[in-house]
């Protein structure tokens, strides 16, 4: 799936990936791939700025730890992030339902 098509939905997708529990940057990349069965195979480098954007807007928080001698930043969804995700889900379901009805309308 093209990066362009995902652009408007990336924030919600990342929040959904972080919803079950905290993950570090590359963990988010891998989880996004596995949950989409490889369909969302974005360059990993595009995920990091998006995570920083979500952190700036208070939808996730980041904490440093040390893993295998390397500094690692792990992200956790916030209460505001869960609220935002819920509203994005509602909006997406409405939109997808309408698109589906139009596309599947019998000729």
């Amino acid at each position: 799936m093209s990066t362009e098509r995902l652009k408007g939905h990336l924030d919600a997708l990342l929040l959904a990936v972080l919803e079950p529990g905290p993950l570090h940057g590359y963990g988010v990349v891998e989880k996004l791939r596995s949950r989409s069965a490889g369909a969302f195979d974005l360059p990993s480098g595009t995920i990091y700025p998006a995570l920083h954007r979500l952190e700036r807007t208070g939808l996730i928080t980041g904490d440093w730890s040390v893993h295998n001698g390397r500094r690692r930043r792990t992200y956790t969804i916030t209460a505001a992030g869960r609220t935002y995700l819920a509203s994005e889900r509602t909006e997406w379901r409405g939109f997808a339902g309408v698109v589906d009805r139009v596309l599947e309308f019998p000729a």
Partner: protein
């Protein structure tokens, strides 16, 4: 090329796009190093980090844009603090010392002084609103607010600060012939703080302006 040198080579390209100094630069590189190293650990066959992570210069530029927005918000918060300090100082002066009628210059300078006061009040209120909105705009999800909105709000704040400084200077000039040192002594720190806020805002807008595309 070994895994470590491949990671270092990738990060060297990212670094070229980041600000030269600051703790945030080191944190971005540490975080990417962890991700790049893990990519190599999980997928030892990964022959190209560029294929996995994307163009390092583009990644660096995207991180720099995000970092610039954070710095922009910090500068807006500093401006807001200075403006609140100025407003508080003004109201404290009015409450404790008061502005006597004799402070108003006579003759042709009187209307200039009185108009200056009204312009000054309006300008500082506009700058305060601009700074608050800039902080809010840089804290909202991008989808809900355009990426150029914070920059325009910063410019509007800077414009209001210019008007504020000009109004204070005009008032100082209008009372100068009457040799009122009290008024001049009050005006100098007000101008100094407003100029400092203006410099901070201008620097933030200048740093942010070329990067609004993100």
């Amino acid at each position: 090329m070994t895994g470590t040198s491949a990671v270092d080579a990738y990060l060297a390209q990212v670094e070229t796009q980041l600000p030269r100094r600051g703790r945030a630069r080191g944190e971005i590189l540490d975080e990417l190093r962890d991700g790049l190293s893990e990519a190599l650990e999980r997928h030892p066959g990964t022959d190209s980090l560029v294929r996995e992570f994307g163009d390092p210069r583009e990644v660096g530029a995207a991180m720099a844009r995000e970092l610039a927005l954070r710095v922009f918000r910090r500068h807006a918060a500093q401006t807001l603090f200075l403006l609140l300090l100025t407003s508080l100082g003004w109201y404290l002066y009015e409450a404790l010392v008061g502005v006597s009628r004799s402070a108003v210059p006579s003759g042709g300078a009187a209307p200039v002084f009185l108009i200056g006061i009204e312009v000054l009040r309006g300008a500082i209120a506009a700058a305060l609103v601009g700074a608050v909105l800039t902080v809010v705009a840089t804290s909202l999800p991008t989808r809900r607010i355009g990426t150029s909105v914070p920059t325009w709000l910063g410019r509007a704040t800077a414009a209001a600060l210019v008007v504020f400084v000009v109004a204070v200077l005009t008032m100082l000039i209008s009372i100068a012939p009457a040799h009122r040192p009290g008024g001049i002594l009050l005006g100098v720190p007000v101008v100094a703080v407003a100029l400092l806020a203006l410099v901070i805002t201008h620097r933030a807008v200048r740093n942010r302006a070329p990067r609004t595309a993100g």
